[in-house]
Symmetry: C3
Subunit: 422 residues, 3 copies
Amino acid sequence: MPKLDMSEIRSLVQSRQPGRPLEAPFYLSREILELDLEVIFGRHWIFVGVEPDVPEPGDYASVQIGRNPVVIVRDDDMQVRAFHNVCRHRGARLVTEPQGTVGKLVCPYHQWTYELDGSLIHAEHMAPDFDMSCHGLKKVHVRSLAGLLFVCLADEPPADFDEMARALEPYVAPHGIADARVAARVDLVEEGNWKLTMENNRECYHCATNHPELTISLFEYGYGFAPESGDESRCEAMAQYARTEAEFETAWEAHGLAWQERDELHGRPTAFRAQRLPLDRAGESQTLDGRAACRKLMGSLKRAKLGGLSVWTQPNSWVHLMSDHVVTFSVLPLSPERTLLRTTWLVHQDAVEGVDYDPDNLTEVWRRTNEQDGALVGLAHSGVQSKAYEPGPYSPYTEGLVEKFVAWYIERLGAHLDASGR
Amino acid sequence: MPKLDMSEIRSLVQSRQPGRPLEAPFYLSREILELDLEVIFGRHWIFVGVEPDVPEPGDYASVQIGRNPVVIVRDDDMQVRAFHNVCRHRGARLVTEPQGTVGKLVCPYHQWTYELDGSLIHAEHMAPDFDMSCHGLKKVHVRSLAGLLFVCLADEPPADFDEMARALEPYVAPHGIADARVAARVDLVEEGNWKLTMENNRECYHCATNHPELTISLFEYGYGFAPESGDESRCEAMAQYARTEAEFETAWEAHGLAWQERDELHGRPTAFRAQRLPLDRAGESQTLDGRAACRKLMGSLKRAKLGGLSVWTQPNSWVHLMSDHVVTFSVLPLSPERTLLRTTWLVHQDAVEGVDYDPDNLTEVWRRTNEQDGALVGLAHSGVQSKAYEPGPYSPYTEGLVEKFVAWYIERLGAHLDASGR
Amino acid sequence: MPKLDMSEIRSLVQSRQPGRPLEAPFYLSREILELDLEVIFGRHWIFVGVEPDVPEPGDYASVQIGRNPVVIVRDDDMQVRAFHNVCRHRGARLVTEPQGTVGKLVCPYHQWTYELDGSLIHAEHMAPDFDMSCHGLKKVHVRSLAGLLFVCLADEPPADFDEMARALEPYVAPHGIADARVAARVDLVEEGNWKLTMENNRECYHCATNHPELTISLFEYGYGFAPESGDESRCEAMAQYARTEAEFETAWEAHGLAWQERDELHGRPTAFRAQRLPLDRAGESQTLDGRAACRKLMGSLKRAKLGGLSVWTQPNSWVHLMSDHVVTFSVLPLSPERTLLRTTWLVHQDAVEGVDYDPDNLTEVWRRTNEQDGALVGLAHSGVQSKAYEPGPYSPYTEGLVEKFVAWYIERLGAHLDASGR
């Protein structure tokens, strides 16, 4: 892939055709990946984990955003903080494990020691005029949305996080994420650009054929279809789906759950969407039989059969919240052609493994679905490299959210290029 | 290796010294590899396989040329076709296995479905105004030369393929490739530039010491030698070789086989060479004892002891055709420093493994020879990176075909740079 | 990491802040690594091994400096020579093993054959006018400093090697390296820039916590400390150390050993430092109990308890010489983020493995210490990639040699940029 200069990138951004995937350089170019890291992952709110990653004081979780190692830590006042995971002496990474528990943050190199609030409290052998107060850890903005953790690497993060939080909390809060426990976590490296991973998530056009486990509980009609494409049996299935939807809506209302589709996927830096959807079979959970995988229900929920709440945030997350468990997904670019997908399964903090839930049953649907999606992302990435690749049309019925993701991405790059005068 | 711009490349092309290998950047530079992919592999006829790769309707074989995945398929009318292996929807690779059999070409992502002639016949959920006839698979030019398959990625392929076909068919056709069966296939990745792989193939100066298995049946005198270098025993051997050659020529004539050296290795885009040569020992095949490895002879041949026909095409193939089997070699660049060598062994379609031939015996000489050559290519690649590397003189007696390969390569790059005004 | 042009590099060189590590691009940029290879490793004396690597005529050792394979060979007159390990024909690497013994240097590709003095004596099949005398191996400058081997790839190496040799020989010679035997060698690849490997070596601030094996015999006070930082027990330890130092100095004087600190670490291309230091416990060797690991003493030494002599050369070595064995360290960049550390253990040539020394005991301290240092270098490299990285202050007491290494490096780059007018 030849190098691109900024004017070529600007021209690609400006000439993007709505209703179609991006031109190949957006998926392949190292320069555009650098811009993605700078603009998208460097100046937006990035979903990186959940409060139960750091349940107790001194608990930490580390995450790598582009070239930036970040440590999230619960301080002694139970506040969640985030720092650049980089010693102020010679730059060594401070914590090296994905997760752990510490009293202080001590650099393994020369034992410079930081409080959990980031202040430097010990550095041996330094000159008499060395000022420890100028050498605290550099802070990273971090916010919790009902237990979902977002960080922003920019000095001045987008101001509209609060709007998103206000809008989404009524949906998310009843699922009690902040008081949940991490039951499982899987890191999967997909062999494709991070935007192909996101696009893959934003539609279920590919689900029926590729996701036999997921579609046990998922109604494909919930994700759009061509109105004229139904034969008789499909028309009947759609009518049945409409009745099911009505039943679930009654239940959601009865339990005081926010359920109306809320779509703010463009026109703003911190873009999001929430929607409550019925589930098939037992209607309780995304499992192989549609039944709850965990006997203890989440948060304040009182009923197992509540379908699922899906939350999407731009640029890099989706979350499925059921009555019995929550699954979160965080997407982080590793290179133009490699992407990390981190999946976390949450259950009620009192749920006991082997008693209240079987972790294999809890995780099987999304472990398999992720692997299937990873393979599809790999096929897409290998194909967009071809000189024969040209962006084909999206389905207006089933790929609307893909279009919204791509449109938001282009909008954000364009805003940055305009603002920076590049 | 510092980046090269086009004027530096042009200057390197213009200053190439005849009779010597290329300057180091031709083997190392990513920019020149990109040019090789664009000009050499993008605009010439590339040898990719044989008709027996796709013997029946619906059989396909996939090949990757640079960043371009290509699928070769036998359609229902027994015609061999080639397409860019890229879905017209979102660019996913359509077929993912090296080989297989299908009824239609169905994209695994969203099940867009194409006929074996490439036309799109099914795409669900699309808008009412979506025109399937505009979204067929993009075609790749493909030609069969007596069963040897060549593709060209350019819109307008070199017109001189037919001349090559007319010239070579009398040599190749009697070996019955189109009606043969693939007995074995090995993909070997060599740690060197593709041109080093080709140069290695174009001489047998290195054979005596490096290829103990190959030189059992190969006469080194068939590949050139310094006239003055013979001592007495060598003179005798050469005289003996001349007598052997004469015997074989008589047999070739008696069996109506074209055998005269035909050399068209430069001055044309589609360059080639053919030569029939005696074999040592039993004289039948490139095996560990010189005897035929397969009891069923190829095509219309009636005699085992026919030596070997060698065919070379530029830029990327050589083929050895014996009475009992054929071995084809296709060279494809993976990066400046990695090259794929695909070797295919063909036997008569009625030959039964374990009865008519032992696959180990059939393949041993070239499996070992390829590995030996791969190691030499690795040594050459690691040495040309040195600041001490300067192209030394070729032997005028044993490295004439190396010179012809390199001269053709420079000629083709130069023609392109002139034509494109770069 | 965005590409840097030469003016950006010049500006980075000029704006380096004394007393602090380098800015991130010095550790990360491919362009600066290229400059390091050209200027630092291409124009300075590089420590690559020891005379006992090639004890007998025909013995060779190969080493790779950047992209340049070099072979060091002992010729028939016992002289050590070095050549570019590249055939003058088509550039193949001549010797492929790390070490071995040959009669002549024969290219494995086409058997071009060179004498041990580099002259070409055989090349088959060449044209009548081919002049062998113009195709000898290209020489590399090589010098032995009391058995320590340095090479320089430049045509005109720095002239001050002799000064270094005169200064260091009185220290090094009594340890008899030239007559020693290689007892063990380990190549370790560290996941960090070569300068981070060097900086790690140039201080022992990190030793107490990270090197439990090394600090058994090493006095941390020998490597600097903050004067005001001592509590009572430390003051006592320091007083004890001063007495120990005095005892060792008496012994060194009694045995006629040069021991005074000699520091020429800047202001010259060929920079170096030597210092004799006490060892703790038995005081004999860097082992797990401080006792000699080998019963036969090195060179002309008559006493085991002599502490250790440390020699540092810029850019790429350190050597620890004890009474019973010597350990040498050679640092070679592989890429901006990968570095080869080659460690060699020497014992008296008559020492018998299993009788006079146990190789595990001999090598354990530095095998473990190297692995610990490699991990620290990896942490440093991963952290300097962060946007949060900014060079923190060095300790004036414990990181003085780090500063001297970095200052020398910047001085050498600056001198080159000035001289070349870039």
